[in-house]
């Protein structure tokens, strides 16, 4: 069955949600539909006539081209998962199908590729598998700069890493990013919350036990260290590790061996340790509740994650990130937050850090039917806080600080635009923000 002659093929192809493009035998793009423009961020006018790899910029463009394979082997490819990079620097996961194009004589005259945006599926999968990379860490503030600078080198080394920071600053996300950037990424990442289990149970969970070690120990059970062999173990809340287990962990860090409960032989395991805590381990050492030798063994590479108060300029980016994510997960089309909401969020202290911001936005998503999130969609304590804040008299320094934060909010966190608006230099803004952070901490 063929299409009726009065129906335009362009109109049909432009109406579908999948991207479609065609190339000639020289790999020049000859057709680019509306969805292709939307997904790639490149207009059809810009794309036509250019080499497909210059437009598509995918993970298979150099050496693993699906179209080239189709044309060479005269067969189709379906549902291959790859990613492309848009002109705004976003990596978009897509699935592609490719096929050769023939003329009426049956000669190959080019190829056609269709592709589908997998962003939503990717977000869901990431949520389930918790497979995060450094590209999932949102933020461009000075406070994150040092960490970003050393993260790839830290990840590729085998050194023990200690991550500290307040609750909700993303310690586990960083641990996962380090693991997924390391050469151990194809081996397991095992997470243990040292504060969540009683001492005896934690010991058997970490190091395993032998049959007969205690009542009900009918058969051998491998510990988390054995399960993580070749990979990484993430010890969360390391500050809550009992002193007796601190000795066993220290022994592992020194000798790379463990001894299961009730066992007589040591087992050699190759595991990288990443530990995290929101406690001050240095102070715990002074108080005698944390072993000094273990502290130094863990503290080979120390990453201190800044609180959200110290990286307020990242708020607009983080808000956009969560809105995008919630839109996908809750099938909504919220466009963003209103200026008033942004101003409230910029002033708020976030004792629960990024996790609290996420919860606030999740709450707002429940109440907001569409468009922009308004003040009335925020949790009540934030609405009250904004009213209280309006009535409280402030010092001159606080008023200055507020003006800077408000301007930063108005300019979506863009520092240069804020400087232009306030007619101050970049250095003055930096100094002002540092003073604001200090004030917020007090």
């Amino acid at each position: 069955m063929s299409l009726p002659k009065d129906i335009s093929l362009d109109a049909i192809l432009d109406s579908i949600a999948d991207g479609v493009f065609t190339v000639d035998l020289d790999w020049n793009i000859t057709y680019f539909n509306a969805a292709a423009s939307k997904i790639t961020g490149i207009s059809s006018r810009d794309a036509l006539g250019h080499k497909c790899w210059e437009v598509f910029r995918s993970s298979i463009c150099d050496g693993q081209c699906a179209l080239k394979y189709c044309l060479k082997h005269k067969e189709n490819i379906t549902n291959k998962s790859i990613f492309i990079i848009r002109p705004d620097g976003q990596k978009i996961p897509i699935s592609i199908s490719a096929a050769p194009l023939h003329n009426k004589k049956g000669e190959i005259i080019g190829g056609v590729e269709t592709f589908r945006d997998l962003t939503a599926i990717h977000i869901f999968r990431q949520q389930v598998e918790e497979k995060y990379t450094f590209e999932d860490i949102v933020g461009k503030s000075q406070a994150l700069t040092r960490i970003f600078r050393i993260l790839p080198q830290v990840a590729r080394s085998n050194s023990t890493v200690l991550i500290t920071g307040e609750s909700g600053t993303g310690k586990e996300l960083f641990a996962r990013a380090i693991h997924n950037l390391s050469e151990r990424k194809n081996r397991p990442l095992i997470t243990v919350n040292c504060g969540a289990l009683p001492e005896n149970l934690l010991e058997s969970e970490l190091f395993g036990y032998k049959a007969g070690a205690f009542t009900d120990a009918r058969k051998d059970k491998p510990g988390r260290f054995v399960l993580a062999d070749g990979g990484t173990i993430f010890l969360d809340e390391i500050g809550d590790l009992p002193l007796s287990l601190q000795v066993k962990l220290l022994r592992f860090l020194q000798e790379k061996t463990i001894e299961p409960l009730g066992g007589t032989e040591t087992i050699k395991v190759d595991v990288r340790v990443i530990a995290a805590t929101n406690k001050d381990l240095g102070q715990m050492v002074e108080e005698g509740s944390f072993r000094q030798d273990l502290y130094y063994r863990l503290n080979v590479v120390h990453l201190r994650l800044p609180s959200l108060r110290e990286r307020r300029e990242d708020l607009p980016l983080l808000i956009n990130h969560f809105i995008r994510r919630f839109n996908v997960m809750q099938d909504k089309a919220i466009q963003g937050v209103s200026e008033d909401v942004l101003a409230i969020l910029m002033r708020y202290n976030f004792p629960g850090n990024i996790r609290e911001l996420e919860n606030i936005l999740e709450y707002a998503f429940i109440l907001c039917p569409g468009g922009f999130i308004q003040v009335e969609h925020l949790p009540e304590h934030m609405q009250n806080q904004s009213k209280r804040a309006q009535n409280t008299p402030r010092t001159l320094e606080e008023i200055k600080c507020q003006a800077v934060l408000d301007a930063l909010a108005r300019n979506n966190g863009r520092k240069m635009a804020t400087c232009r608006e306030l007619k101050i230099s970049k250095d003055t803004l930096r100094r002002m923000l540092a003073r604001c952070q200090k004030m917020a901490q007090n």
Binding site: I42, A47, E54, V55, R57, Q153
Partner: protein
């Protein structure tokens, strides 16, 4: 641009790679007194991006010229003090010639722009009364 600079081209075959993740080798050049001299080639056996970033840093690269690149990777490289000039397409020969002539903006990938921070593009003169 004062002093000696190391320029790195992220290549695939005879041209720039479509995205830096795919680069099969880095071509290094020395820029001295506005002259460009070859300074070596490094083949990249794996497609591992963090490894490439570490390599760029350890080679003392000052300027990276590449095709597509994620915003996060640009940020990470910039934080290492490297000037990143992304969204460039063309053969190595075309890129080198554009570097000499300061016409790199003409090699921008479709739908992309090579920003005003790039030292290898001529400054556009505006008329006395602005654009028109």
């Amino acid at each position: 641009m004062g002093g000696e600079k190391i320029i790195c081209l992220a290549c695939y075959g005879e041209r720039l790679a479509a995205i830096i993740d795919n680069a099969s080798h880095f071509l290094l050049f020395k820029l001295e007194d506005n002259e460009i001299y070859p300074a070596g080639s490094i083949s990249l056996p794996s497609r591992d991006l963090p490894g490439k970033i570490s390599l760029i840093k350890s080679c003392g690269v000052d300027i990276l010229i590449c095709g597509g690149i994620s915003g996060c990777t640009i940020y990470m490289l910039q934080e290492m003090g490297i000037l990143v000039i992304p969204w460039v397409a063309g053969t190595v020969e075309q890129v080198l010639s554009a570097l000499k002539d300061k016409t790199l903006d003409k090699l921008a990938m479709p739908g992309c722009e090579i920003g005003p921070g790039c030292p290898f593009r001529k400054r556009r003169r505006r008329g006395r009364f602005g654009k028109n």
